[in-house]
């Protein structure tokens, strides 16, 4: 059954709320700006609304429906306890500008969460306000810029490995840096030689992902950090893959200067079909003074204060400033804190252990039918990376992904990282049972066998999804981004 658009169901008269209709003769104080033209918004009654969104939701796949092995996305179970605590009126119904005395519990949440993050990463400071991973990257990069400015240096180059997330170069460029790529070695790790060869007085820093996007731990990370520091640069670590090492390695002890943490990945705040995220950034001693506002600090009497523009001069004089309104993603903080408290130190360590175990299990169960370019590089971390080398002509990584849909599974990440041709990056996370993994592996194994044998029916997948394969090129060629009344399109 097709679900029409709200514009095709509703009209301007229908309404799913009960509000008094405005008095016709009401005067206003709108300064002559009272609206005179219609907006064009359809309304639906409440029953129609509930049905529309219920039916829409049923066209989605989600982690609640099954495995969601998108590499570098860390789709794990979202506990409903966290949804419940985030909705306590004492958190959800709180205005960001209430007097400090009326929000001490909220500030305590921020401080407690900060303490967990600092302890897990072994870093001395954390900026809590960045709103997502990429915003956190920006925060870290701006800290580096501010630190360089404070040193009176104008280094303009940020080094980024080829295998980096696309956000890394975008962030560096957005912050006004020039981006240069560093190649990976044949084992899938950053080439230490290429890196050290490029260091110099124009290099502001390195953006590195560890574990990297090939699913491997950068063994030389400490050496790399030392080299950067020796050359006067800083090391930004993309924390998207922190789930692989949480509770087992403290990045601060390896020498990184800044790392964002995706609360919506490692700490399970729900992705919600694309956000919101939350990206606190832990900072080294070198970068801590430049952290953005606001910041929560603990007073001597145990109460908390919020450092904003007013008091920054005393508490954080070198702060590079504010990155967004208010204090960050509070709704995500409560969820992440509940997640951490639930797992505890032992549970978080089990998280990374099980995540890595699951990924290695996937890697080894499939390397007989799929190209596993770095299988010889040792154990993978929490992601198993495959290439399209075994696929017969006419069958692509895309076909494998779409065929998985017909087997009832969400596909893995496709065509990333770029360093592997036709890459398939599988991240099962710690939330899958062995039985569930075995089902997924069996399905993918069978598809890979068909792909190797040149079964072109795979190119017709998916057949059993709410839609067959969608024409993405057409959407981009002549973009239709809003609905128009028929005849007006």
């Amino acid at each position: 059954l097709e679900e029409r658009l709200i514009f095709e169901i509703g009209d301007g008269e229908t309404c799913g709320v009960d509000l008094p209709d405005p008095a016709a003769d009401a005067t206003n104080r709108l300064g002559g700006l009272a609206r005179t033209s219609p907006i064009g918004l359809p309304g639906l009654s409440e029953p129609e609304t509930v049905r529309h969104y219920t039916r829409l939701s049923r066209q989605n796949y989600a982690i609640d429906c099954g495995i969601f092995p998108l590499g570098s996305c860390t789709m794990k179970h979202n506990p409903r306890l966290n949804e419940k605590v985030a909705r306590l009126p004492g958190f959800a119904d709180l205005h960001p500008l209430q007097p400090e005395t009326t929000v001490q519990g909220a500030l305590a949440v921020i401080d407690e969460l900060a303490t967990w993050l600092l302890t897990l990463t072994g870093m001395p400071a954390v900026a809590m306000s960045p709103k997502a991973g990429a915003h956190g990257e920006l925060c870290g990069i701006l800290c580096i810029r501010a630190a360089l400015e404070a040193r009176g240096e104008s280094r303009e180059v940020i080094l980024v490995p080829e295998s980096a997330h696309g956000t890394n170069p975008a962030t560096a460029a957005f912050a006004g840096f020039r981006v240069e790529a560093i190649p990976a070695g044949p084992d899938g790790r950053i080439s230490l030689e290429a890196l050290t060869g490029r260091l110099g007085p124009d290099v502001a820093g390195l953006m590195i992902t560890n574990p990297n996007t090939c699913g491997l731990f950068e063994r030389d990370i400490a050496t790399i950090c030392d080299a950067l520091h020796d050359a006067g640069g800083y090391v930004y670590c993309d924390g998207a893959n922190f789930n692989a090492i949480v509770g087992r390695v403290k990045p601060g002890e390896l020498g990184v200067d800044a790392m964002h943490i995706n609360l919506h990945k490692t700490f399970s705040t729900p992705h919600g079909g694309g956000g919101p995220g939350s990206g606190p950034v832990v900072l080294s001693e070198a970068l801590a003074p430049f952290a953005p506002l606001p910041m929560v600090l603990r007073n001597e009497d145990g109460s908390y204060r919020l450092v904003e523009e007013e008091s920054a001069g005393d508490d954080l004089p070198e702060s590079f400033g504010r990155m967004s309104a208010f204090h960050g993603q509070m709704g995500m903080f409560t969820r992440a804190l509940a997640y951490m408290l639930s797992h505890g130190a032992d549970g978080l360590r089990q998280v990374s252990g099980d995540a890595v175990l699951n990924a290695n299990y996937v890697l080894r169960q499939l390397e007989d039918v799929l190209e596993a370019p770095f299988a010889a590089s040792g154990p993978c971390m929490h992601e198993a990376l495959f290439g399209d080398g075994t696929l017969a002509k006419g069958v692509s990584t895309l076909d494998i992904a779409k065929a998985l849909i017909d087997e009832g599974f969400h596909p893995m990440t496709m065509y990333f990282p770029l360093v592997v041709h036709g890459a398939m990056l599988v991240e099962p996370t710690e939330c899958e049972s062995k039985a569930g993994l075995d089902e997924f592996i069996a399905a993918l194994h069978s598809i890979a066998e068909r792909a190797a044998a040149g079964d072109l029916s795979l190119t017709q997948a998916p057949r059993y999804a709410p839609r067959k394969r969608l024409d993405e090129a057409r959407a981009a060629r002549s973009p239709v981004l809003t609905w128009q009344e028929p005849g007006q399109a």
Binding site: G16, G133, R219, V249, A338, Q365, T482
Partner: protein
């Protein structure tokens, strides 16, 4: 641990299949001196749901929730009634626990919703196109500045005095690193938006002028005049809407000539949440589509020719274009966009207008009542649901004293503009449909006691 399904028996079998002696052995690439061999001792062990809930309830209990007292805060975050069905629907696992719709064939729910959302936002703002949401209003405002820079190839930004100071700070911070030039001064305690003076600051180097509507003092600037002035100099007009409900009562920025309209969508569906997550809204003219930052959803067809939706124009985006992307934004605010869109669908044209009218009606009652308090006067000549009172004392201190009496009276300008003595007597008061006449009376009485 209740969230982790593997057993020791499973682990043994899997290790055997892998050929590894232990889970710890899988971490052999980590430098031995950095590898922790035990749970971190400074952190507590795992806890039951009951224990975690108790802890969080205890913390929540140390806050004064807005609904528990007479409440009048606004200044960029508004407390509206969110229908129960909104929260129910966004909690459906298929929405809540889905990722970005990278596999559109099994994400039509999220994608169709985004397409509907984009249409709602574009129409509300009076624009032709909108994106699928951004982090919040303040970051959307910065993205608008960079978009205007890309389009006009100029780098001076004129900011009206009525822009939310947090937005100004955010933009100023970013501009410091990107060499954009910002022309801004804070407002005076005046009912006049001084559009002519603002227009005079626009020159041939100006990429855009940024103006909030209604502005931070609740005033309603004449966008049409400003648009004309900006366009005359080849600059763009960027309007910022922090209270979208207002657009049920006043003309949209797009109608009045704005080229880009950004906003904070929190007021509809999302709730206060101590400031986040919120919802950045972004709309513009169709001709600037390919310079618009952020994700967008577009219509297409599937292999059977059926209508379907996909994320599109990704060649603007970081994951394709890397350092040449229009923005580094990756995550949007999808779930908040869903909440906004559902709330908007429940309201519809008629409901949004009725809601706006009810807000304005109650705000007028409140303004008149509060202006009667000795030592209190109303700054605004016009306003929607928020206005500025001028007290004869430091307003920040008054807010604190009222909080001690369990009245959350509004936002003092001293909180927003610390150190600006001229503004220290200003108090922003917001009134919505959730405000009762008893609440207004409670604030008036408490003010009378304190100011008198």
């Amino acid at each position: 641990m209740r969230y982790l399904p593997l057993h020791d028996r499973d682990r043994s079998e899997m290790l055997a299949a892998i050929g590894a002696p232990s889970v710890d052995a899988l971490f052999s690439d980590v430098p031995a001196d950095a590898l922790l061999t035990e749970p971190i001792a400074e952190l507590p062990p795992h806890a039951s749901e009951l224990a975690v809930e108790r802890h969080m309830q205890r913390l929540a209990g140390r806050n004064v929730s807005a609904g528990s007292v007479p409440f009048f805060l606004g200044a960029g975050a508004y407390r509206h009634h969110v229908p129960a069905s909104v929260d129910h629907l966004i909690q459906r696992g298929e929405f809540l626990t889905a990722y970005t719709p990278y596999q559109p064939e099994i994400a039509q729910g999220t994608l169709q919703m985004l397409f509907e959302f984009q249409t709602q936002v574009a129409r509300l703002f009076g624009c032709e196109v909108a994106n699928a949401s951004m982090y919040d209003g303040s970051t959307a405002a910065w993205e608008a500045v960079t978009m205007a820079r890309r389009i006009t190839k100029r780098n001076k930004t004129v900011i009206a005095d009525g822009l939310h100071p947090h937005y100004v700070s955010s933009i100023t911070t970013m501009a410091r690193f990107t060499q954009d030039r910002i022309d801004y001064a804070p407002p005076a305690l005046s009912p006049d938006c001084a559009i002519a003076e603002l227009a005079a600051r626009i020159d041939e180097e100006t990429s855009c002028v940024l103006v909030q509507y209604p502005d931070i003092l609740g005033r309603l600037p004449d966008l049409a005049a400003l648009a004309e002035a900006a366009h005359e100099k080849g600059a763009m007009l960027v309007a910022v809407v922090t209270e979208p409900v207002a657009l049920g009562a006043i003309a949209s920025p797009g109608e009045l000539g704005a080229d880009i309209v950004v906003g904070e969508g929190q007021a509809l569906g999302v709730g206060l949440q101590f400031g986040g997550p919120y919802l950045g809204l972004f709309a513009c003219r169709e001709k600037h589509l390919r310079q618009m930052p952020g994700r967008v959803c577009g219509e297409t067809v599937d292999a059977d020719g059926k209508r379907g939706f996909v994320l599109t124009l990704s060649t603007r985006e970081q994951h394709i274009r890397r350092e040449k992307a229009t923005s580094n934004i990756c995550t949007n605010s999808g779930l908040c966009a869903l909440a906004f869109s559902i709330h908007m669908t429940l309201l519809g044209e008629r409901g949004l207008r009725a809601l706006a009218a009810e807000n304005h009606r109650l705000a007028c009652i409140a303004a008149d009542r509060l202006a009667q308090v000795p030592g209190v006067s109303l700054l605004n000549e016009s306003f929607f649901n928020e206005f500025c009172l001028v007290l004869d004392r430091n307003a920040r201190q008054v807010v604190r004293e009222l909080a001690a009496k369990d009245v959350l009276a509004g936002v003092s300008l001293g909180r927003l503009y610390p150190g600006d003595d001229a503004l220290s007597r200003g108090l922003l008061v917001a009134v919505t449909e959730t405000t009762t006449e008893e609440d207004i009376e409670a604030l008036a009485s408490a003010l009378e006691e304190i100011v008198a």
